[in-house]
């Protein structure tokens, strides 16, 4: 896809939309369909499109693999960390009621953080797996 000016321009316009739309899916998940998992996949899809159109080498410069791997771990840590915080505040593990001044707000904060954790993990994992597959050469000699 060397001289594909049209494709490059379209991708340049679309990728920011895809990333913003992923965030919309994430934060609109409380009201409509969607949530952390779907948002993470869509966010990763934006980077996949970048690597398809501009080449993996450029994408690796934008977002090196170690960042993807770190995201994969960070999300789980964030999710589990919310549980640790609720325990420190005197409630059961992952009981969000104590996160704010009243239970309903606490639930909102808890769900927000937990979904963010899911988003980060899914994004990191999808991109990490894609890098692992796309970065290898064809095996037949």
């Amino acid at each position: 896809m060397d001289d594909q000016v049209i494709l490059r321009m379209a991708a340049k316009w679309l990728i920011p939309f895809i990333l913003i739309f992923a965030l919309y899916v994430q934060f609109h998940g409380d009201y409509g369909p969607g949530g952390g998992f779907q948002a993470g996949v869509i966010f990763a899809a934006g980077f996949v499109l970048h690597s398809l159109v501009f080449g993996l080498k450029d994408t690796l410069r934008v977002l090196p693999p170690w960042v993807a791997y770190a995201c994969g771990a960070l999300g789980v840590v964030l999710y589990a960390g919310v549980g640790v915080v609720t325990m420190a505040l005197g409630a059961e593990y992952l009981n969000y009621n104590v996160l704010s001044y009243d239970p309903e707000h606490g639930q909102h904060y808890g769900i927000l953080l937990v979904e963010l954790g899911v988003l980060i993990t899914v994004f990191g994992v999808m991109l990490g797996v894609y890098y692992a597959f796309a970065g290898r050469r064809r095996l037949d000699g």
């Binding site: 594909q4 049209i6 494709l7 379209a10 316009w13 679309l14 939309f17």
Partner: protein, 105 residues
């Protein structure tokens, strides 16, 4: 007023459906890849455009209108680009357009 909007959206949605079906028949019946691509493009622009216009008239001014416009915008950008990439890849991949034999031959 409501009548007018209803009739208009009927017209647009029926027109969109017509183009979608005609495009699909074209994809099935046309003789080679590039003519088929032309038929498919008909579905994507006219069919999708008219259908979305009809639905937009039905939804009125709301969040759904914004979503419909975004869908149209994305289809408007992605499907011609995909068609172009496809036709280019096919040409590079040695699929030649069918030609009617000219009289000099």
């Amino acid at each position: 007023m409501e009548m007018v909007v209803d009739v208009l959206s009927w017209v647009f949605i029926l027109g969109g459906t017509f183009f979608v079906v005609v495009g699909a028949i074209g994809v099935l019946r046309m003789p080679d890849l590039f003519t088929r691509l032309h038929a498919a493009g008909m579905t994507d622009t006219m069919g999708a455009g008219l259908l979305i216009l009809g639905m937009a008239l039905q939804s009125g001014i709301s969040l759904n209108l914004g979503r419909l416009l975004l869908i149209y915008l994305f289809l408007f950008v992605t499907s011609p680009v995909a068609s172009h990439a496809l036709a280019r890849a096919a040409l590079l991949g040695d699929v030649r357009p069918l030609r009617v034999a000219s009289k000099e031959d």
